[in-house]
Amino acid sequence: MTETNDRMVPWEVFVQPRAGAPHEHAGNVHAADAEMALQNARDVYARRGNVVSIWVVPAAAIHASRPEDTGPFFDPADDKPYRHPSFYKVPHGTRNI
């Protein structure tokens, strides 16, 4: 009874809850092609009127940073306090700076 799943691949689903909001990862669906992935994503992740746009991306197409690299990969940003406004001193009482 097993069937080969050679062409039903996972697609990651990103939904935009309302115009102006960013697309957010919602989950995945399995589908044979992009059209079917979009329809499945609509049926699974947009059953109520709270989605205005859906992106589907073949899961295999996503390249992600690796947790074990977190330290070295992001460390260029770790020691640069001068990129934050709190680094800078202005006289007391100065407004709207």
């Binding site: 009874m1 799943n5 995945n28 059953r47 947790p67």
Partner: protein, 319 residues
């Protein structure tokens, strides 16, 4: 880093309330417990469609029929949310589904009971979905990110299930003596199996300690069960109904409703496959899967044909 150091760091993160994400290091036991628990949860949503599907064609009016259709469709969706979250742990949903079809996977006992009357549909929404909400509200805080996020999504939708169930019950409670009798009968049949949904007593629960330590769960089976009893008993009384428990009493000291002892022999009998509908549920599930084979094959054939005609518009090879 060696295993002990990794485990220490993992447990410190969990203790600090951080979420564990799919690509983070996790103990093999944690991963296995999650796959077991989440796949059972997903299967329960899918099998849970069957007792209710039984009544879609016989709903008393169009409003009730549309609501029930929407509820059952939600349950299909909930199963898929959780299969999706389970796949982040490196398993394939097809293998999980195959285990279910082979009768090797467990799902919630509650779905092995029959839906004999329309009142059962009301009581299921009220009791069974009510119990599920108690459990899933806790799981929305689970330490595993994808599971917690799936639960948040589910909880948003479950409230409609519970309310539509209670509305059915309110209508029957205000109805003819025969309708009231039908409702009381459904309450009598569903009360004890619903209490069993929270699983064995804490002292008997093999997996509880580990799941609590790693914050997959924050409350024990008995704590969740007590909470459900406390919110539900007054709702039962509000409809002028009784519960099939002569030992049920209110404890002034704790503010808890204390129930009589659950028939655990029945619980284990159903777990082992000897409930009223175990075989029927699996038969229905297998039939649905087999009857859908041609659709999946057609979809794959169509996709292959399209791909031969043109490269995919996004330029990504997904074969």
């Amino acid at each position: 880093m060696d295993e002990t150091t990794l485990l220490k760091a993992f447990e410190a993160r969990v203790a600090a309330g951080e979420k564990i994400e799919p690509r983070d290091w996790m103990p093999e036991r944690y991963r296995r417990q999650l796959v077991r628990m989440m796949s059972q949860h997903a299967h329960s949503e899918i099998v849970g469609m069957l007792p209710e599907g039984n009544w879609i064609t016989r709903a008393p009016n169009l409003r009730r029929k549309m609501a029930l259709l929407a509820k059952v469709q939600d349950e299909a969706g909930h199963g898929l949310y959780i299969y999706s979250a389970t796949e982040t742990l490196g398993v394939d949903r097809n293998d999980l589904i195959q285990e279910l079809l082979d009768g090797k996977a467990k799902y919630s006992n509650i779905f092995n009971y029959p839906t004999l009357t329309w009142a059962d549909i009301g009581v299921i929404g009220w009791f069974v979905d009510g119990a599920a909400i108690v459990n899933q509200t806790m799981l929305a805080k689970a330490s595993y990110g994808p599971y917690a996020r799936a639960m948040i999504r589910i909880c948003k939708e479950e409230n409609f299930h519970k309310k539509q169930g209670y509305e059915i019950c309110v209508t029957l409670a205000k109805g003819t003596p025969a309708q009231r009798q039908m409702l009381q009968d459904a309450v009598n049949r569903w009360w004890w199996p619903t209490l069993m949904m929270f699983g064995p007593h804490d002292t008997e629960s093999a997996n509880s300690d580990e799941l609590l330590r790693w914050k997959v769960k924050q409350k024990t089976n008995d704590e969740l069960r007590q909470h459900f009893v406390n919110i539900t008993v007054p709702q039962v009384h509000a409809l002028g109904l009784t519960l099939p428990d002569p030992d049920l009493r209110y404890d002034e000291e704790t503010g808890n409703w204390i129930t009589g002892e659950i028939d655990w022999d029945e619980f284990w009998r159903v777990v082992r496959g000897h409930g009223p509908c175990n075989r029927e549920r699996l038969r229905a599930r297998r039939a649905a899967h087999e009857e859908g084979t041609w659709v999946r094959e057609a979809a794959r054939a169509y996709a292959a044909k399209q791909q031969r005609k043109t490269r995919p518009s996004n330029g990504v090879e997904v074969a």
